[in-house]
């Protein structure tokens, strides 16, 4: 039986680790390579890097970070942020990323998902979705809308419809990131996660809002997520990865406990 995964997300800007609250006011909080290794040794199941570097001329810094991490961290490594083409994806794969996360560029040009999945395989293409709760309407029947630009631009696209389209186009995994919950530490958006996880056959990673170990338990059970993504709760030392996994295991979830 598959274990539920605990995934840490590291936002990287200009090669430094940053943590955003509701995607604004990012601040530097350390060296991504060091942090990645620390979590790996402490039993992390998977690592996600999100490149939030604003200027394109500094993008190559990310390749160096990925390469440095891949030579000392031997768990799946996923990278997202600014991927617009198959060549962006293959560059990151060569640097050592296992999976590629596509987000805004796929919303603007959905064929990007098809192109990446045929080039590097479905299982390596993750569709990351930033989602905000809105009033239900004809345009947004699920009541959840896809947003881009760090949550600032609503796209008039229904989140559930987009999840299903992404799966159909070849995304092997979905990240459900609630912009409303992101950075609040009040818990994941359970209703949203559960709705999408039950509608698709690919694994779903819940993201945004984790503050307590109970929040992970909640989204992995009630929320039907296959993996829970954490950021600030481990970055600032409030919890250790091993502590979160120990808690989930004690609650009866199947968790990888020997590493």
């Amino acid at each position: 039986m598959l274990s539920k995964r605990v995934i840490a997300c590291l936002d990287v800007r200009d090669g430094h680790l940053a943590k955003s609250v509701k995607f604004l006011n990012t601040q530097n909080i350390g060296d991504p390579v060091e942090k990645a290794h620390e979590y790996y040794i402490d039993g992390l199941d998977e690592l996600v890097f999100y490149d939030i570097t604003a200027s394109s001329d500094k993008r190559n810094i990310m390749l160096d970070v990925v390469e440095a991490v891949a030579s000392q961290v031997f768990i799946p490594l996923s990278v997202g942020g600014g991927i617009r083409s198959v060549s962006d994806a293959t560059d990151l794969r060569l640097a050592g990323a296992e999976k590629i996360n596509v987000n805004s560029a796929a919303v603007k040009r959905p064929e990007l998902i098809d192109e990446c999945s045929s080039a590097i395989g479905n299982q390596n293409v993750v569709l990351s979705m930033d989602i905000r709760k809105v009033a239900k309407s004809n345009e947004i029947p699920s009541g959840y809308e896809i947003v881009i630009n760090g949550g600032r631009t609503p796209m008039g696209l229904d989140a559930l419809a987009w999840a299903l389209e992404g799966e159909k186009r070849g995304a092997g995994e979905l990240v459900i990131n609630s912009i409303d919950a992101d950075g609040t530490k009040d818990g994941y958006e359970i209703e949203l996660t559960s709705m999408i996880a039950q509608a698709v056959r690919v694994p779903v990673i819940a993201s945004g809002g984790a503050g307590l170990p109970e929040h992970l338990y909640e989204v992995l059970t009630e929320g039907h997520a296959d993996a829970a993504l954490v950021a600030s709760m481990v970055h600032y030392g409030d919890y250790k990865v091993s502590e979160l996994k120990g808690y989930l295991h004690d609650q009866g979830l199947k968790i990888r406990m020997s590493w």
């Binding site: 039986m1 598959l2 030579s71 296959d226 020997s258």
Partner: protein, 205 residues
């Protein structure tokens, strides 16, 4: 020299990095003549069986692989690299290398609670002691990503099993060949342990 067979089947760099981590110097190789002189071979791969077999054959790597195995050279197949060691794969209806009798089938996917592909960490239960699997303990988990699984005809070739849609063979082997469905290069400490065992294996069981 340890050679990692390069037949356009995905990203091989992670396998090389993990080998380096356990002190195993490895080079990529796409040349059958070079492969014939290998001391140790890793046959990795992700992707689809059809195109993988076509590429292996086009490069003449199939014959070279048979030869090195007949000579007792230790060979490790990983994921798709393992799957094409059997006779046949349902994926693209492909006739494969036939190093181990048996076939590769697709998960049935008739249980809505099971996601496909089988992706993530799962337990590997060792069924037969083997030098390369030494040190793997009950409860140890490895990283999997696959939609098809192997079924050797002869149960003596099944070295370890994993439970997903029922139990399937997650490590298989015969003589100096061993193959894993999981990715040791992405499986943390236990995966590196397996690679380190392989680095020291003389090909005898």
């Amino acid at each position: 020299m340890t050679l990692i067979v390069d037949y356009d089947a995905g990203n091989l760099a992670s396998v090389k990095r993990a080998c380096e981590q356990v002190g195993l110097a490895a080079e990529f190789c796409a040349d059958p003549d070079q492969l014939r002189h290998a001391q140790r071979v890793i046959f990795p791969g992700v992707g689809a069986a059809g195109s993988a077999m076509a590429s292996v054959k086009a490069r003449g790597l199939d014959e070279a692989l048979r030869e090195v195995i007949n000579n007792g050279c230790p060979v490790l197949g990983i994921c798709l690299g393992m799957q094409i060691s059997l006779d046949y794969s349902e994926e693209n209806d492909t006739s494969t290398l036939g190093l181990i009798a048996g076939k590769v089938s697709r998960f049935r996917m008739d249980r809505p609670d099971l996601k496909v592909p089988h992706m993530g960490w799962n337990e590997v239960c060792v069924k037969q002691p083997h030098p390369v699997l030494e040190g793997i303990e009950a409860g140890d988990e490895f990283y999997f990503v696959h939609g098809y699984f192997p079924t050797p005809r002869d149960s003596s070739a099944v070295l370890a099993t994993t439970d997903y849609e029922g139990h399937f063979a997650s490590a298989i082997g015969k003589d100096s060949y061993i193959g894993t469905q999981f990715h040791p290069e992405k499986s943390g400490r236990v995966g590196l342990r397996l690679l380190s065992n392989f680095a020291r294996w003389d090909g005898q069981c």
